[in-house]
């Protein structure tokens, strides 16, 4: 018989859940957000004999309360009818920590199978887990697996498919040690793995009676009763009962304590040789998180990452540029040969290939940067960076964790803004999203290279570097001023797990990098494609139709309207204005647009540069104007893809508009200062 089974994967952060999930599904994932929230939802499918299994990867969480978005999403999904079996992935080498979530899951009353992951590490350390006793104490099957070594995968799915109808526990053989004097009317030990003290069990019985009278259709009375005793806000609102005599206070802490007491009993009976500690991670941490050496080591690692990104990346990028020229030349020749209309040729070659292709040439840089970042993340180092940077970030009112997105901002602002979702509170997320675009991304580099070479000659490199510094200073200054205005600095405290260091897993890294590259390609194929077409259209079509003189195009009309705004910052030329507008699609386009709008074929060549300098000099555009232009490019609205990402992550149109307006304002103000002060010198 063919059957379809929905399996939810749940577990603590860093328990290897995603590695296990990937081992089953491969890279064929559907990644989306859970409805209405920015919590990622990963879905995959696999064939098991003739059955179809649909797998859902839930967010990594420590508990199932309703205080964070991730926990709420997971809990509601498990309670829904969309899931048949839950695979609870635990790190077998850190069982004590992981079993807390397990006990909460079992209480939810859905079929649960325990996957004891990292069994290879358990063996390496000489630990042993009594696989017979553990299921007896928990009442659910426990399967030893290793996601990295791909062992036990088949048997885990076998257990899941056979366990799907077991919503009541298997044979439980256990009595709490403290239960000898229990006076509670029921002995629950044969029904439930987790049995509480008499005080709590008495109250649970009373609440269940109330719930049965008022909400007879509920499926799991015990769980709802426990949640009411914990005063869980979501359950209190959905199923209120008016018995202040029973629920005289929140029993949450008692319930947590008793769960951990039970876990201690389990560990005592099940784990053998647990005292054997691994010192490797502690030894590495002594160096990497050292109070004086930690920061220099981090800076050194980043220097290597950027060196690889820019030198190796640019080297490969050169080849892609040659390929692009070849494609563009070939397309022109081919289209001319078939007698295509010049307007169509122009659209395809100058619009689409130049626009989309120009972005694709940055693929090697992006690839190497993400490879390095995946390496840092998978090895466990990223969370240490948050600790190392916590003191410095604290001064500008953010937690050390907020440094990770800012760091990613040097590569590409889009994934950097996305990375801000790992921050706990919304205010920190919004603040980080606001300042991250000031970190100069790789797309802005072509602008600095071109204009500093044209106007600053031998000081070109210094001028380009100064842009990075200005970006960092503005980001820090903005965050600092905001923290002063807000006057609340207590909530941004760091709390982050530091996983054991491990050799990065090739498969996990490949999937991580592929996801980012795919996003980037999608962006090039959609947003940038459309923007390129629009840019081409407005600069080639005017009120009189298809124009040969660009100064009669719609682009020129728009540019001329905005010239008065840009004159005080030294950029009062319609061509520059239009180039800056086109840069909203993607910052690299500013360079290409300047070439097109000033009618210079190869703007990067020496002849092209001297031509444009002469042209600009005739209109009074000099070094100070060029510097103001670079500063403006550094700070003004990030590209369209970033704006879309900010909208997606903040889920607020108003915030997005404010952020864009703010960045435009900062850019204008800074460029104004540069131009007005520079003119006096």
């Amino acid at each position: 018989m063919k059957e379809e089974l929905n399996i939810g994967f749940i577990g603590n952060p860093n328990c290897g859940k995603t590695t296990l999930f990937n081992a089953y599904t491969g890279a064929k994932l559907k990644v989306a957000n859970w409805p209405g929230v920015t919590v990622e939802k990963k879905e995959g499918a696999m064939k098991y004999h003739e059955h179809l299994f649909k797998l859902v990867d839930l967010p990594g969480i420590y508990s199932l309360t309703s205080y964070t978005m991730e926990e709420k999403v997971s809990r509601n999904y498990i309670l829904s009818d969309d899931v048949d079996v839950i695979i609870d992935v635990v790190d077998a080498s850190a069982l004590e920590r992981n079993l807390y979530l397990t006990l909460q899951l079992i209480e939810l009353g859905k079929p649960v199978v325990l996957a004891l992951n990292m069994m290879d590490i358990v063996e390496e350390r000489g630990m042993e887990i009594d696989m017979h006793r553990l299921p007896e104490m928990l009442g659910i099957p426990a399967i030893g697996v290793s996601a990295r070594k791909k062992t036990g995968l088949e048997i885990l799915m076998h257990a899941a498919s056979h366990h799907k109808d077991h919503s009541t526990p298997d044979n439980l053989v256990h009595q709490h040690k403290s239960d000898k004097e229990s006076k509670h009317v029921h002995n629950h030990h044969e029904e439930y793995a987790m049995v509480y003290s008499d005080l709590i069990e008495d109250k649970i019985d009373l609440i269940i009676e109330e719930l049965q009278t008022h909400y007879p259709h509920l499926t799991n009375f015990r769980w709802h009763a426990i949640k009411l005793l914990e005063m869980d806000p979501e359950i209190m609102e959905k199923y209120p009962i008016n018995r202040p005599d029973i629920i005289d206070r929140s029993y949450e802490k008692d319930i947590i304590n008793q769960k951990y007491d039970f876990i201690e009993e389990i560990i005592e009976e099940v784990v053998v040789n647990k005292s054997k500690q691994v010192a490797t991670t502690d030894k590495i941490d002594n160096l990497l998180t050292h109070r004086f050496l930690g920061l220099p080591i981090f800076l050194g690692i980043m220097a290597i990452v950027f060196f690889l990104t820019f030198t190796v990346g640019d080297y490969l990028k050169g080849y892609l540029e040659i390929l692009l020229e070849w494609i563009s030349g070939g397309a022109t020749a081919g289209l001319e040969a078939v007698g295509a209309h010049p307007m169509l040729i122009s659209l395809i070659v100058d619009g689409i290939i130049a626009g989309v292709g120009g972005i694709l040439t940055f693929l090697p840089n992006i690839f190497i940067l993400f490879l390095a970042l995946a390496f840092l993340e998978d090895s466990g180092y990223m969370s240490r960076v948050a600790y190392v940077m916590d003191g410095i970030m604290g001064k500008i009112g953010l937690s050390g964790r907020a440094f990770i997105p800012m760091l990613l901002g040097f590569g590409c602002t889009v994934p950097a803004v996305m990375a801000s979702r790992t921050l706990e509170n919304r205010r920190d997320r919004l603040k980080t999203m606001l300042v991250t675009p000031f970190m100069s991304c790789s797309a802005r580099l072509p602008i600095y290279v071109l204009f500093s070479e044209m106007f600053f000659k031998e000081h070109a490199m210094l001028v380009a570097y100064s842009m990075y510094v200005i970006g960092i200073v503005v980001a820090i200054l903005v965050a600092f001023i905001m923290s002063r205005v807000e006057q609340v600095g207590s909530e941004n405290s760091l709390l982050i797990e530091l996983p054991e260091y491990k050799a990065p897993n090739a498969r996990s890294i490949a999937i991580y990098v592929w996801e980012k590259i795919r996003d980037y390609l999608t962006k090039a194929g959609t947003t940038i494609f459309i923007a390129s077409v629009i840019m081409w259209m407005i600069s080639n079509i005017g009120p009189t139709g298809f124009v040969t003189d660009m100064s009669e195009s719609f682009a020129a009309s728009i540019g001329k309207v905005l010239v008065p705004i840009f004159t005080p910052i030294g950029l009062g030329h319609w061509q520059i204005v239009v180039a800056l507008i086109s840069g909203i699609a993607a910052k690299e386009i500013v360079v290409a647009s300047c070439g097109v709008l000033y009618g210079i074929g190869n703007i990067n060549s020496e002849q092209g540069m001297s031509d444009i300098v002469t042209l600009l000099a005739a209109t009074g555009f000099g070094a100070v104007n060029a510097y103001a232009l670079m500063v403006f490019c550094l700070l003004y609205v990030p590209c369209a893809a970033t704006i879309a990402t900010i909208k997606k992550e903040s889920d607020s149109r108003k915030y997005t508009l404010c952020a864009v307006a703010f960045q435009l304002g900062v850019a204008w103000l800074m460029a104004f200062l540069v131009y007005q002060v520079g003119r006096l010198l």
């Binding site: 941490d285 405290s493 760091l494 709390l495």
Partner: protein
């Protein structure tokens, strides 16, 4: 004493938690409650610390480290 005043390498017993409710909830979900033993692994001058609780390492900022009250175990 506060955890932020502890010495690296020492084991402490938690005797009280004085932080905002939401942070306290997250700590208790991690099994950090009164009576739990924790090992201080690393400390920065400013008071941020790394400690291990129930077999897992965590880094916390000064604010939380100040709010965890501990006593020396024998």
């Amino acid at each position: 004493m506060r955890l932020s005043e502890g010495i690296s390498g020492h084991i402490y017993k938690v005797i009280g938690i004085q932080v905002e409710e939401n942070i306290e909830r997250r700590l208790s979900a991690l099994g950090l409650i009164s009576g739990t033993h924790i090992t201080l692994l690393n400390k920065k001058r400013k008071g941020a610390v790394i400690f291990s609780v129930r077999g897992t390492r965590f880094a916390i900022g000064k604010h939380i480290a100040d709010g965890i009250l501990v006593e020396v175990t024998v």
